[in-house]
Symmetry: C2
Subunit: 417 residues, 2 copies
């Protein structure tokens, strides 16, 4: 186990969280739900102090030259606070995964075997300047019986401090132990300590861009769930319906460009007759198209693409376009350049669809549907803490069950080998 | 993705495995089973060349002063080769996890959601001088649709080379792609390359002692499944039956001392009346007892224990003994010193059992049963590649389903958001 004393920024908080986790794992669902309700109430009751702290963060960020889009993510108002309180209340209605029996059997020797869901323990979350994540992450962790170590961005630190003060006071009144939710200092070094706190922290979930994920993967000795990098493709098969393809590609690219499940590259079978029309629709929607020679032949607005374009998660109104000889060539492209997030096919061929779903290695494969559907809310999970792009533990939207581990409970009557 | 050219020892093999994995994930079960049968046949047919290579390894190890116990683990004979061939055949009868639908639903908007098991891809295994692991690991990986990158010990390299030559020739005759099973060089540096081969290798599973696990956790940027470190406890409650307690403690400690599910520490409630008899039984069985003052008062053979004893996975005929005031004190000891492998309680109190199973955070909790039951074979999994002591992905014995990930397949009819 890491020595808490060697972690000056987070050691004390991690020890409190560790102690809290031992209590949280044994709490019945109704106690956790009552605490969530109290936390939601407290956010509304104490909205003024939250907004005062937030205004200071926003003013400081504006004075520091932060762009308006970032300020908007940072900014809270009464409506947004009510929104995060509502999100906490939604968690109350969701099933508690803790105690679920995943599998069970009676073995030939009479031993009773049950695999039961248990909390992970202490969950660290590293995220950027969205204060709503503070509340969402705390709520998801507590409902699943975990203590939360929150490391938000420096620019939101006053807001996060106010939010966590409100949440923890309500949670403790509701019977949750001290240490259930801890806000860590926003220093850069606190991330490093969190990533090395083996034995004190059970998992770290980074929520942020590619550079944060890279740092976490490089430095972490604590287990990590990677989230959120999405270089997603839509493949339009030779058999695709023209208007369905157009609707899906437009939706996947333009519905919301800054999110990980937005499409970044369009792959089109060379026999698709409607490529010019499809590219026109994208260009008219304001999309800058970066294409190979065949795409440039199909539409004058297409600018030349390089390997850089195939590799890029634009998160903007840009799209790479490549014409492929056949479906295997599309699979090759996705295997080479994809990030394993969401890959879509538009096709009316059952054979092509089967080949695509079998051949693509990603968290989600979408058949005649937009990549934008890869989302915990859309999947009916009720809430998500991120979208995992790794293969271990959990892949795709992370709901409450994904915030648990399991224990085998083996019951005998004096059994020996 | 890591640059294969920057991995001189393993890059070419990893690329072949990566290509093989794309084929393996799409192979039907009967093709994989036929290959397993061919591999088992080939091991028997070519037993002579395997034993010749093994004799060279054993001679070299003996000349290097390797102790007899280690030589015995390294040594193969016709019976042992037949044993590993049988183990391959057992895999044929096990269900193929690939394609299993883990959950599925039709969403309110008509989208059909299925979460389907898929292979992990390329699985790296780092292990010590047991040649049977070469065959077991290759078989488990192939049955679950994964390519295997095997990094065995230098002392078994001739044997492993012969085994992998036999296995791959048979596998390829059976229709599996080149690269399905690759043996990596036994250089120390090849482990480092494997651990850094992000994007080429999907997971590394170390099978070995604490120092190997430590190195892997420290160095790996590739996801890891930790296995095998077991500092396991048996807690004898005040309500325990004397003869049941004696049988379970003796079995857990002495049945096989060198394995991770052997017990290392005995915790005894201070109101247990039969502690002297229990310690006598252990001493008579040849166990060296390291105890606290109360244990030393109970039996003259007990030598003084230090914190070092609570921390140690002896893997020998030694056992630490501590008398605790109550069950919460036992839980505190386990939380402080346990490795999260297997923890047993002997008790006739339903309240105590419930408190113990809720309070212990481990891969397995055994109630009135020996810790030795934490085992894939004992659990009825048919085979295991190790016992995970981590909380993410899989905890406890790792069978075939634990060698898979999942993909969400989302089928629409032109759905957009």
């Amino acid at each position: 186990m890491s020595d808490a004393a060697a972690l000056p920024l987070i050691g004390a908080a991690a020890l409190r969280a560790r102690a809290a986790a031992r209590v949280l794992r044994t709490l019945p669902t109704d106690v956790k739900n009552a605490a969530l309700a109290a936390m939601a109430d407290a956010l509304l009751e104490r909205v003024d102090e939250i907004l005062t702290a937030n205004a200071q963060d926003v003013d400081a960020a504006r004075a520091g030259g932060t762009p308006e889009a970032t300020l908007d993510r940072l900014r809270l108002d009464a409506g947004r606070v009510a929104g995060v309180a509502d999100a906490l209340r939604l968690l109350i209605a969701l099933p508690d995964p803790v105690g679920d029996v995943v599998r069970g059997s009676t073995l030939p020797n009479g031993l009773q075997l049950r695999q039961v869901r248990v909390p992970l323990g202490v969950v660290g979350i590293v995220y950027e300047a969205r204060p709503n994540v503070t509340v969402d992450a705390a709520g998801l962790c507590l409902k699943s019986g975990n203590a939360a170590l929150l490391r938000g961005s420096a620019s939101a630190h006053r807001t996060n401090t106010a939010l966590v003060a409100v949440l923890t006071e309500a949670a403790q009144k509701g019977g949750l132990p001290e240490g259930s939710v801890e806000l860590l200092p926003a220093d850069r070094a606190s991330v490093g300590e969190l990533l090395s706190a083996r034995g004190l922290v059970d998992v770290v979930i980074p929520r942020g861009g590619a550079s944060l994920i890279e740092r976490v993967v490089r430095e972490a000795t604590v287990p990590v769930i990677e989230t959120g990098v999405g270089n997603c493709h839509v493949y339009v098969d030779a058999s695709a319906d023209a208007s369905m393809a157009e609707a899906i590609v437009l939706n996947a690219k333009t519905h919301r460009v800054s999110v990980c499940n937005a499409a970044e590259t369009l792959l089109v079978h060379r026999d698709v007759p409607f490529l010019p029309r499809l590219l026109s629709a994208l260009a008219q929607a304001g999309v800058t198209l970066h294409g190979d020679d065949a795409a440039r032949d199909a539409h004058p607005a297409v600018v030349p693409a390089t390997d850089e374009d195939w590799a890029t998660e634009y998160l903007s109104m840009d799209m790479a376009v490549r014409v492929v000889d056949d479906l295997p060539a599309a699979l090759d492209h996705i295997a080479r350049w994809g990030s394993g997030h969401s890959e879509a096919i538009v096709s009316d061929s059952a054979t092509a669809i089967a080949q695509f779903t079998a051949g693509v290695d990603a968290a989600a494969v979408l058949v005649n549907a937009s990549t934008r559907f890869t989302d915990g809310g859309e999947f009916g999970f009720g809430a998500e803490i991120g979208i995992s792009t790794q293969k271990l533990h959990a892949r795709g939207p992370l709901g409450l069950p994904e915030l648990t581990s399991t224990t085998y409970i083996v019951t005998g009557a004096g059994h020996t080998r």
